[in-house]
Amino acid sequence: MSFFLTLLIAFPLLAGLAVMVFSSPDDGDFPRWGALVAAVVNTCASLGLLSGALAGEHGWLLRSFEEKRAWVEAFGIHYWLRVDGFSTFLILLTTVATSVAVAASWNSVKSRAHIYFGSILVLSGAMIGVLASADLFLFYVFWEIMLLPALFLLGIFGGSLRRDALYKFVIYTMVGSLLMLVGVVFLGAQHLAARGTWDFGFDALYGLPLSPGAASWAFLAFVAAFAIKAALFPFHTWLPTAYSQAPMPVTFLLSAVMAKLGVYGLLRIAMPMFPDAAQTAAPYLAALAVAGVIYAAFAALAQDDAKLLVAYASVSHLGVILLGAFSFSQQAVVGTVFHLIGHAVTTGALFLLVGFMAERRGSTLISDWGGAARVMPVFATFFMLMMLAAVGLPGLSAFVGEFLILFGAFRDYAVLAALAATSIILGAAYMLWWYQRTMFGAVTQPEVARLKDLTLREGALLLPIMLAVIGLGVYPQPVVSAITPASVQYLARFGVEPDKSPTASPKNLEPLRHQSREHAHQEPVTSH
C-alpha cells in the first residue's frame, strides 16, 4: 500500500493548519515563506503522479497509488484514494495553481497573513482530496471541507461587497451540497436494497440497478451540486460576484481549480452512476450549457470592470466544457478533461493579470485604462498572448480542448454545437475589445503614464503558465493519450464503444479496449 496520495492531501492540510495555528499576525514573512515552501514541495511531489500517467502507456502505473482502508465499517464507508487519467492532471493543476496563488499574493496580503496563507493550503489539500477520492462519502467530505477555507478567503480578505458575495457563494454551494447529500444517502440505500450492505465505493455504485423514477431525481440532485460549482446557467449567478470580490490570487485558484471540480464531479459521479437518467437529461442540460455560453459572452461584452469581464468569460467557457461533459463521444470527453486544464491555464493567467493591474492602478475598470502598452510593453506582450490563448487561437492550449469538444458534441447535438461555436466569435469580440481599450490608444490618464512594467516576480509567475499554454497547444498528444483510457472506461458505462478518432491512435486503442473491459470487471485492489 502506498501512502503517496495520503501525503499529497495531508501535507498541505496540516501545513495550512500549522501556518494558521503556530504563527501570529506579527510574524512577518513566516506565513508567506511557510506556505510557499509547502506549496512548492507539494507541487514537486505531485510530479510523481505524472510519471505514473505518462510512463505507463495505459495508465497502469496509476493503479499502484491506490489506497484503501475501512473508515466507518458499519456504513461501508472507506478511506479510499485512487487516481486515473481524469484526476491526475487536475491534481497537478491544483498543486501548481496553489504555488502560483501563494506567490501571487506575496505583497497583496498585509494583515492576518497567517489565516490567508493557511487557508490557501487547506483549500489545496481539500481539492486534491476531492480529486483522489474513490469513495462517494469521502468525496463528499472533502467537497465540503473545500468550502471552509474558501469562505474565509472570500469573507475576510475580499473586496468591499464581500459580504453579499459570501452569502451568495456559500448558500448556493450549501444548497448544492445538501442536495448531493440526499443523492449520497439514496445511492447508499439503493446499494443496501440491491446487494444487502451499505457501500459507498465508486466501483460498487457504478452499474447499480436503480429504480428509474427515483434515480432521475437523485441524478438531478447530484447535477445541481456540480452544476452550481461549475456555474451552469442559470446557477451561475454566484460566480461573478464571488470572483470579483475575492482577492485575485484566490479568484485565480477558484477559477482554475474549484470550478473545474464541478465538471469533474459530473464525469466521475453524476453521469456514470446514473447512465440512463444522464442520457435522458443530457440534451436539456447541454442546452442550458449552451445558453450559458451565449448569455455569458454577451454579459462579458457589457462589462466595464475587467474582473467581471473575465468572470463572465469564464462562465462562457465553462459552458463549452459542460457541453462536452454532457456529450457521449470519445472526442468530447477527452476534450472536456483536456479543456479543464487548458481553460484553467488561460483563465487563471487572465485573473492573475487582472490582479497585477489592480495592484498597479488601484482600479480594474476598463475606462480607467488606455494606452498602457506604451508604458508597460512586457506586460502588454504577456497579456496579448494570454488573451489570444483565451480566445482559442490554434496552437495555444484552449484551442485543442475547445475544438475537440465542439467536434465531439457535433455528433450528438449538431445545433447546440454550432451555437456554442459562436462563443469563439463572441469571445474574440469581448477579449480584443477589452485589450484594445486597455492597452492601445493614447495615454489619456496621468495615472496610467506612471505605471511600472512587469516585475521579475510577476514575470516568473507568468512564465510557467505561458510555457504550459504553448506546450499544451503545440503538443497535446501525451496528455490526450493519458486521458484516453479513462475516457474509454467512462464511455463504456453508457454502452458507447470507443471509436477511431484523431484523439486516440489505433496503436493506443486496441490494448485500451481490452484493458477497459478488464478494469470494469476487475475487483478493486484491496491490500491491507
Binding site: 471541507i145 469562505l151 444517502v185
Partner: protein, 523 residues
C-alpha cells in the same frame, strides 16, 4: 438489596443533590457547591457507565413502576454530561453576575433527579413525578436573575404554560387510567395488543394518549406548543438556557420515544400518531427555520433553531420502527446537546455582564478578540448546519438514512429544504464573528475564565471527534459517548420492549436483530 442495584445512580444523584442543598445553607463560598456538584455528577456518570456495561437486560423493579435498561443508562450518562458542562458554564457566569448561590446547583441537580426518574419509569404516575420534579426546579432556575424584567417575563410565561402542559399531561393520564384501568405502561401495552381488546379504538383512551403527547410536545418545543421557547430562552441566564435546550429537550424525547414504543402498538392508534407526527414534523421544521431567519437576538435564534431541530428529530421518531432510527435519534440528541452547550457557553461569555450584549450584532468581530470562542462558535454552527466532520453531520446523515429506509423520502426532502434554509442564519453568526469589524458597543474585553476555556475546548474536541473518529475508536471518555455503546443502548431498549410484554405479532418484525458487540449500526 441487589434487586434495587439498578436504582443506585438515581439514589446517588439524590444524595448528591441533598448534600448540595445542605452545602448551600452551610458553606459560604458557593462555587464550592458547584465543584461538589460537578464531582458528584462525575461519580454518578461513572456508576451509570459501570452498571450499563454489566447489566443483563432490563430490570423491572418497585412493582414494575421503574424499569432501568440500556436506554435509561444512555440518558443517565447524557444528563450527567450536560450537568457537568452546565456547572462549568455557570460558575464563571454566576461569579460575574454576582449571583453565585449554592441553590443554583442544588436546583439543577434536583431537576436532573426528575429527568433520571422520567427516563426510567414504566408507570405513568412515576413518570409524572419525574416530569414535575424536573419542571419545578427549572422554573426557579429560569427566573434566577429576579431583578431583570426579561427574566421575569420568561419565568412567568414558562411557569403558566408549563403548568398548563403538566395539567393536560395529567388529565391525559387520568383518561388513560379511566379507560384502561391501569397506569402501568407494560400492562397498557399488553391490553392494547391482547386479542379481542377494544382499548385501541376506545375514544377516551385515544384522547388520553393524545393529551399525554401534548405534554411531551410542550417539553420538546414542537409546533404548535413552542410559543414559550424564544422568550424563555432569552430571559433565562445563558447557563440555564444551555441546560434547558439540551437536557430538558433530551428528557422530553426520551419520554416521547418510550411512550410511542408502548402506546402505539395498536394499528389504529399508530396510524393516528403517524399522521400527527408527520405533519407536526413538517410544521415544526418550517416554523423553526423561518422564524430563526428573522431573529436578531442570538438566544432567540438558538431557540427557533432548537424548534427546527425538534422537527428533524420528529422525522427520526417517525422512522422508529426501523432499526437504526433509534440510534440515529439518540446520536442526534448527543450531537445537538454538545453543539448547543458550546454555542451557549460562547454566548454566556461574550455577551458580558447581565447579558446586555446578546444580540447578534454585538458579537461582531469577536472571533479576533477571543479566538477560542470564535473557533468554538464556528464549529458549533457548522455542526448545526450538518457539515461533514462534525457530530451534526453524522447525526443528520443517520437520521436521513433511517428515514429513507422507513419510506419517508418526502420528509427527508423537506428536512433537506429546511437545512438549506438554516444555512443562512447559522452562517450569519460565523460571518458576524469573523468578517465584521469589532462592534463599538460590545462588552469590554476581559480574560476568559479557565472554566469557560475548558468548556469551549471540550465541545470543539467532542463535536469534531464525534464527527471523525467515534466509529472505529471506542473512547471511554465522558461526552464522546461511544457510538457503539449508543447503538447498543438503543437496540437494547427497542428489543427489550417486546420481550417485556405479552408478545402478539406486530412487534417481532420490527426489532428482532440479535444484539452483537459488533453489530452494524444500521442494518
Amino acid at each position: 438489596m441487589l434487586t434495587y442495584a439498578p436504582l443506585f445512580p438515581v439514589i446517588l444523584l439524590t444524595l448528591v443533590a441533598l448534600v448540595a442543598m445542605l452545602m448551600s445553607a452551610l458553606v459560604r463560598d458557593a462555587s464550592r457547591t458547584g465543584v461538589f456538584s460537578a464531582v458528584g455528577l462525575l461519580f454518578v456518570m461513572a456508576l451509570s457507565l459501570q452498571q450499563w456495561g454489566t447489566q443483563q437486560g432490563p430490570a423491572n423493579i418497585l412493582g414494575n413502576a421503574v424499569t432501568v435498561d440500556g436506554y435509561s443508562y444512555f440518558f443517565y450518562v447524557l444528563f450527567c454530561l450536560i450537568g457537568i458542562v452546565t456547572v462549568f458554564i455557570a460558575m464563571p457566569h454566576l461569579e460575574r453576575e454576582q449571583a453565585q448561590r449554592g441553590e443554583f446547583y442544588t436546583l439543577m441537580l434536583f431537576s436532573l433527579v426528575g429527568m433520571f426518574v422520567m427516563v426510567s419509569s414504566d408507570d405513568l404516575m412515576t413518570l409524572f413525578l419525574g416530569f414535575e420534579t424536573m419542571s419545578l426546579a427549572i422554573y426557579v432556575l429560569v427566573g434566577w436573575r429576579r431583578h431583570q424584567l426579561r427574566s421575569n417575563e420568561g419565568v412567568l410565561k414558562y411557569f403558566f404554560l408549563g403548568s398548563l402542559a403538566a395539567a393536560i399531561f395529567l388529565y391525559g393520564i387520568a383518561l388513560i387510567y379511566g379507560s384502561a384501568g391501569t397506569v402501568n405502561l407494560q400492562s397498557v401495552a399488553a391490553l392494547l395488543t391482547a386479542p379481542g381488546s377494544a382499548l385501541g379504538v376506545n375514544g377516551v383512551f385515544t384522547v388520553g394518549v393524545l393529551l399525554v403527547l401534548v405534554g411531551v410536545g410542550f417539553k420538546i418545543a414542537a409546533v404548535p406548543f413552542h410559543m414559550w421557547t424564544p422568550d424563555v430562552y432569552e430571559g433565562a441566564p445563558a447557563p440555564v438556557t444551555a441546560f434547558m435546550a439540551t437536557a430538558v429537550k433530551a428528557a422530553g424525547f426520551a419520554l416521547g420515544i418510550r411512550l410511542i414504543a408502548f402506546l402505539f402498538e395498536h394499528q389504529q392508534l399508530h396510524d393516528i400518531a403517524h399522521i400527527i407526527l408527520f405533519y407536526g414534523a413538517i410544521l415544526t421544521m418550517f416554523v423553526g427555520n423561518f422564524f430563526a431567519l428573522a431573529q436578531k437576538n442570538f438566544k432567540r435564534m438558538l431557540a427557533y433553531s432548537g424548534i427546527a431541530h425538534t422537527g428533524y428529530l420528529l422525522v427520526g421518531m417517525l422512522a422508529l420502527p426501523e432499526a437504526g432510527a433509534g440510534t440515529a435519534v439518540l446520536y442526534y440528541l448527543v450531537a445537538y446537546a454538545l453543539t448547543n452547550l458550546g454555542a451557549l457557553a460562547v454566548a454566556a461569555f461574550i455577551s458580558g455582564r447581565e447579558e446586555k450584549f446578546d444580540n447578534l450584532e454585538d458579537f461582531s468581530g469577536m472571533a479576533w478578540r477571543y479566538p477560542l470562542a470564535g473557533i468554538c462558535m464556528a464549529v458549533c454552527m457548522f455542526s448545526l448546519i450538518g457539515f461533514p466532520l462534525t457530530a451534526g453531520f453524522f447525526g443528520k446523515y443517520m437520521l436521513f438514512a433511517a428515514a429513507f429506509k422507513a419510506n419517508l423520502a418526502p420528509l427527508v426532502v423537506i428536512a433537506i429544504v429546511n437545512s438549506i434554509l438554516s444555512v443562512y442564519y447559522y452562517l450569519r453568526v460565523v460571518v458576524v464573528m469573523f468578517v465584521e469589524p469589532v462592534a463599538e458597543n460590545a462588552a469590554a474585553p476581559e480574560t476568559m475564565p479557565l472554566a469557560t476555556k475548558a468548556v469551549l475546548a471540550y465541545t470543539v474536541a467532542a463535536v469534531v471527534w464525534s464527527g471523525v473518529g467515534t466509529f472505529n475508536v471506542t473512547p471511554f471518555f465522558p461526552g464522546l459517548v461511544p457510538l457503539r455503546a449508543k447503538a447498543e443502548a438503543s437496540m437494547k431498549a427497542l428489543t427489550a420492549i417486546p420481550q417485556a410484554r405479552v408478545s402478539t405479532g406486530t412487534v417481532e418484525g420490527k426489532s428482532s436483530a440479535p444484539l452483537q458487540a459488533n453489530a452494524p449500526l444500521i442494518h
